[in-house]
Symmetry: C2
Subunit: 409 residues, 2 copies
């Protein structure tokens, strides 16, 4: 309603105050970092009470159903999510809605309209930093979660040091490490940085990935010293069984789908909940082939010759830990590992790298179940390396092609 000139100064002044209040309220719903004006009040204690106004009733019901023993424990955990893109943003939203204690978000990208084909970000957020936009939305969804966000690239020297510090000290209780690190990045360099940090800190983490053509993805659990790290072997990818003739990888724009990314975020956070709240079986590797709706699984031991010295150190410590256990527990531990390793579902899919290529490649070529393959093969021997430290691999691809593949992973 427009103000008429007949109004007195006093009326106008009251109207200005009213409008300022209303505007502040509207903005608090949207402004990055704003309070939860449009959201809900904070909840001190998770209640199982079955009322429409209880945001945790359906989660606490997991106790009544016999699935989770102590769901409230979720509030005691801190999780770091690196990469707040198609997988990371949905991962952060799921954890927020589950009532996680604390989330640390790392990304250095801005929201673009080109991201609108994945869940989470909305067009009006275009131009904002992803971590800033995400924090605003997530805080509004669940004001009980503590947030710490960093708008930087973890792979630069300075930022990497700060990143390591936050992993070590950014737990719910300041000075304690986070409980889990989740890699939701889209490139090889960032994955290696996370791997390096977690090996040095002995920090358990989970890796996730979606293929460039948007129709496959995977998650992987890495417990330093216990399961293969990201440097132990070439990264595993899901075999896609797509006619190679139809594969066109030139061009710089990777495809993506909200479906594949939603499924990968879903199986990732499900694995996180199972790991933190101690129910079900946590998968060491779970793949998703969207073309054929199959989900291969496996586990892989660390490589004693891993190039990361901290990985080798963690392996030694893990061996000592196992040796120190009472005999009963060691047997149980081994049986559990065998269960994982034997998980071949008999799915017949052709690997994208031939048996011969795998044999030709040196380094640890894991005994992969059908449906999982390696992203690239590694040179046969160090001596095969070209002068100048460059190496070639024998699948007929140039080093440039190989590096391009790795960068785009």
């Amino acid at each position: 309603m427009a103000s008429s000139s007949a109004e007195t100064a006093e009326q106008l002044r009251r109207r200005v105050q009213e409008l300022e209040q209303e505007l502040a309220q509207e903005r608090s719903r949207q402004a990055p970092g704003g309070s939860a004006g449009g959201g809900r009040a904070r909840v001190d204690k998770m209640s199982p009470e079955v009322v429409d106004s209880n945001p945790y009733s359906r989660l606490m019901a997991l106790k009544r159903m016999g699935i989770v023993k102590d769901y409230e424990k979720i509030r005691t955990f801190a999780v770091a999510v690196i990469g707040v893109g198609g997988v990371g943003s949905v991962t952060a939203e799921m954890l927020t809605r589950c009532g996680i204690g604390k989330l640390l978000l790392f990304d250095y990208d801005k929201v673009e309209l080109a991201n609108m084909n994945r869940l989470f970000f909305q067009p009006h957020q275009a131009g904002l930093s992803k971590v800033q936009a995400a924090e605003h939305t997530l805080r509004n969804i669940n004001p009980d979660v503590h947030f710490e966000v960093y708008n930087y690239n973890i792979t630069t020297v300075d930022n990497f040091q700060h990143f390591m510090d936050r992993i070590s000290n950014g737990g719910l209780e300041s000075g304690k490490p986070v409980d889990l690190v989740l890699s939701c990045v889209d490139n090889f360099e960032a994955r290696m940085a996370i791997n390096t940090a977690c090996n040095e800190l002995g920090q358990t983490w989970m890796e996730s990935g979606v293929s460039e053509n948007a129709v496959s993805g995977h998650i992987q659990l890495i417990i330093p010293g216990e399961s293969a790290c990201f440097a132990c072997a070439p990264p595993l990818v899901v075999a896609e069984n797509i006619d190679e003739k139809t594969l066109k990888r030139e061009g710089v724009c990777a495809a993506s789908l909200p479906t594949t990314m939603g499924v990968v975020a879903g199986i990732l956070v499900q694995n996180v909940l199972k790991f933190l709240l101690n129910f079900g079986t946590v998968s060491f590797y779970l793949g998703y082939n969207a073309m054929q709706d199959f989900f291969p699984t496996m586990s892989m031991k660390p490589n004693p010759q891993c190039e990361d010295r901290n990985c080798r150190k963690q392996q030694e410590e893990y061996k000592k830990k196992i040796a120190a256990l009472p005999k009963q527990e060691v047997v149980e531990q081994e049986e559990e590992e065998i269960l994982h390793e034997d998980n071949d579902w008999g799915i017949e899919l052709v690997s994208e790298i031939s048996e011969e290529e795998l044999k030709d490649a040196s380094g640890p070529v894991p005994d992969l179940p059908e449906g999982i393959t390696v992203a690239y093969t590694v040179p046969r021997k160090a001596e095969d390396a070209l002068p100048g430290g460059e190496s070639v691999e024998d699948s007929g691809e140039s080093l440039e092609e190989l590096m391009a593949k790795m960068k785009n992973m």
Copy 2:
């Protein structure tokens, strides 16, 4: 900033105008049914151009990657989503972000804070009808999609007629049927209503479901006459291999998780995309057991004795259609069916209903792969029915218990 008493009436009037404009702008971003003020402009034609401002570049890249031949075709399809809850809302959002031509949403529920443990709805939407809140959010995300929303229960007589009419005439081109119906409801009655409608109309649909304990779910493709309808056999559910002693099903509040619902929505919409855009293999039944990360799959032929006469009629028509095909195509058709039926992955899981119980039950007990079981067994023979038309089944449960189970599915 508060207004000081030293301001003139003219200054105050200008300030009121300014504030009113700002407030209107803020509100246009949020008001239900409001314009896409905070969103993006409409796009006439999907472009493959790789620029940050193109919301479709990552989808059109599926063509360059050789996955989808004609992605733009997505804009020619209309999909009805029944149930806009944990699975349906995410399903609608994924389709919206993929650029579907038209969405028809049906639900009669209101958003509650108790829904905040699943993706999509936000606390400030509590109290709004789910379809209204969903339409507002989705329109803002993608103004290119056409929406038609109905805030009613499809199972009442009048609404059912209207629902049938919208399925038959609510296509992108008015008077044409929709291309696909997606059941994302949480109860047996609504599923049966959708089944009845789709059998009568010969309408292909997909069903989805999540278990009460939140740790399993499934999707199913039903092509009337070609694959088993919802009345052909007891509904299939994923075997959970959970110690029965820990299962506590009393209590009215079902548990739910954003993870399980996100995965089910993801595999559902992935199947929709494969079905509509003709790529990959469309699954007839795909289950998700979250406790063990396994995903059983199968297909099932319709039951010639199905109680739904329209199902039997569709079966006859399908037979005629097959008989009229050139011989070559019939062979291909049959081979394809065999491929699906033989999809036993050798996963060893104990069924929740014993072999004996299955044998005792009459009606078509499908040859189920390990990991899939039926939600309940049906009475052995019609003659076993009690006087008055009631029937009992022989798994030791009363009819009341059975009905309660079915209602809660």
